[in-house]
């Protein structure tokens, strides 16, 4: 046997259970994205028309915010791997702040829509837009709760270079939230 054939695959970052959860969530979003794309074919003019009412500036800004926030989480993980707890905590809170910024901008977007009387029952496009983005919104909230819990634990010295599975678990979930938005933003806001 060669050394290569004996080489073990790298372990998944974080707890294995979160990866089953992540994949389940991704399956649900996949069904929703595909449903959007299929229904759009049957309502082309409606979707193309109302897509132009969406705020692409906020959508793009939120994409940049989530990518940056994910990057901060990576910096937090890299810091704890060198036992730099202070820096790790800083970047976890920075990532949390990114999530908060995302929610603020998204709320502004919703306020604009709701104040114009737009809701889930307005038309098929808005039903999909609101359902998809609100479902993602809830995942961002959950991700932020997880990040906050991990940041507080890190501050209390719960993690180290030899023990940071909890932090990697939180990071994996947060990256999933980012991954979903990477598809959602162009699909709902841009592609026509």
């Amino acid at each position: 046997m060669t050394a290569n054939s004996l080489q073990q695959a790298k372990l998944l970052p974080g707890d294995l259970a979160i990866w089953f959860f992540i994949f389940m969530e991704l399956l649900v979003f996949a069904i929703a994205f595909i449903a959007y794309a299929v229904v759009r074919v049957q309502n082309l003019e409606l979707f193309n028309h109302y897509q132009m009412t969406l705020n692409r500036e906020i959508g793009a800004a939120n994409t940049l915010i989530l990518i940056t926030s994910s990057y901060f989480v990576i910096r937090a993980i890299n810091a704890i791997k060198t036992d730099d707890v202070k820096q790790s905590v800083f970047y976890l809170y920075a990532a949390f702040g990114g999530g908060a910024a995302f929610l603020c901008l998204k709320s502004m977007e919703y306020y604009d829509k709701f104040s114009h009387g737009i809701g889930l029952d307005s038309n098929t496009f808005y039903m999909f837009y609101l359902s998809l983005t609100m479902f993602h919104f809830l995942h961002v909230i959950l991700g932020m709760v997880i990040l906050l819990a991990v940041a507080i634990k890190a501050q209390r010295g719960a993690y180290s270079a030899n023990n940071h599975i909890g932090m990697e678990t939180a990071a994996s979930y947060w990256h999933m939230v980012d991954l979903v938005w990477i598809i959602l933003f162009p699909l709902v806001y841009i592609i026509r």
């Binding site: 695959a9 794309a37 759009r40 692409r56 990477i182 592609i191």
Partner: protein, 72 residues
């Protein structure tokens, strides 16, 4: 970041058609690969998980591409 700005620019200009759809989905695919491989840290993990995650990405992008090409 640049890929996101590209997507935004396409949207802002209101570009549509086969090429725009193809480029936007390609951008999403590339960004997704970066997130799965580098952010999520799946580079070098067991094959089954890489198949599941990349398979998810490719499947979603492909189905979206097919439905959009039907509508063009």
């Amino acid at each position: 970041m640049l890929l996101t700005l590209f997507s935004y620019t396409v949207g802002k200009l209101g570009l549509s058609g086969e090429l725009a759809v193809f480029l936007l989905l390609l951008v999403s695919l590339i960004k997704g690969i970066f997130i799965i491989r580098d952010f999520m840290g799946l580079r070098g993990v067991s094959l089954i998980w890489r198949i599941l995650m990349y398979g998810w990405l490719w499947t979603v992008i492909s189905v979206i591409a097919i439905t959009y090409s039907i509508s063009l």
